[in-house]
Amino acid sequence: MPTAAQLFAAYFQVGISGFGGANAWARHVVVEKRGWLTDAEYAQRLGLGQVLPGPNAMNCAIIIGHEFAGVPGSIAAVTGMFAGPLSLLCGLAALYDRYGELQTVRAALAGVAAGAAGMMLGTALKLARRSRPTWPMWAVLAAALGASMADVPIGWILLVLGPLGILTARMERA
């Protein structure tokens, strides 16, 4: 079981490398590198993090931190995740107003963004395969994907597909 200090270190790594959002990196560090959770376990905590209000990655870090090291674990994970990027952003904020319009900067950012999107997609695919969905679960997954692509408000998606998803999990156990 990781200690609060190990959680801080792991989430510091998540924060500092988390281009394009932190969820994909959190999975990479917590599942692939440290082996603290399996993909299926990580996916469950991601689901909880999405249902709770606030940033998903933060909610996930709070849940995972608490699980391993109580309240200090949650605080360590969240501060670890925010510490690096926050200080970096302060520096960037000053530079960006001056150089953000440069074509070179834009081109590099476009390249990073394409990679980040691929990373998120690969993470979703891997989580889907490893969590072994039943076919009704695949249907809920596809519906969430389709609804979100069609810009259905997130509140409605959670309200309708959340309970439907739980129903599919009940069917599986029955």
Binding site: G15, I16, S17, F19, G21, A24, A43, Q44, L46, G47, G49, P53, G54, P55, A57, M58, I62, I63, H66, E67, S74, M81, G84, P85, L86, L89, A93, G100, Q103, T104, A107, L109, A110, A113, A114, A116, A117, G118, M119, L121, G122, T123, A124, L125, V140, A142, A144, L145, S148, M149, I154, G155, L158, L161, G162, G165, I166, A169, R170, R173
Partner: protein
Amino acid sequence: MNELWALMTGLAPLSLMAVGGGTTVLADMHRLIVEQHGWMDDAAFARRYALAQAAPGPNILVVGLFGWHVAGPLGVIGATLAMCGPAFLLALGFAAMRRRLEGARWLRVAERGLVPMAIGLAAASALHLGGAAVAAWGPQPIVGAAIMVVTAAVVFFTKRSPLWMLAGGAVLGVLLIG
């Protein structure tokens, strides 16, 4: 100081409304920062959002950039605390409750049941971001799409760190469209 206070009291209620991720309340932030207080214009707001997306770390850190603009370094901390604090406390309470209920059957069912929706939403964010990223490649969308597909394959089939793919994307971007 008054400005920072206005920003913080404007952001704090959004914290608990941001169901499904911090940036779902982006439109409300825009209302607060651009329309209501006029702290920056549309373009400056959009640039900061793009920067937070591109920079490492949770995307919600964009509020830190707004805070910087309104009140400097202290604004970064104030805005981040206001946006994340209330949700942090709620999630902490939930995490504690979850551990007390450990092993309860209904909780296990609920947790397993939320997985498909979570993955579907994550895949949709990937495609949303991917669409915007590929469009940013202008005349060579195919290269952007290829970077995306190859990175997805590396993550799916290997345990390697995708950091090299992101760095490679940046280099290709500078070489081809810079």
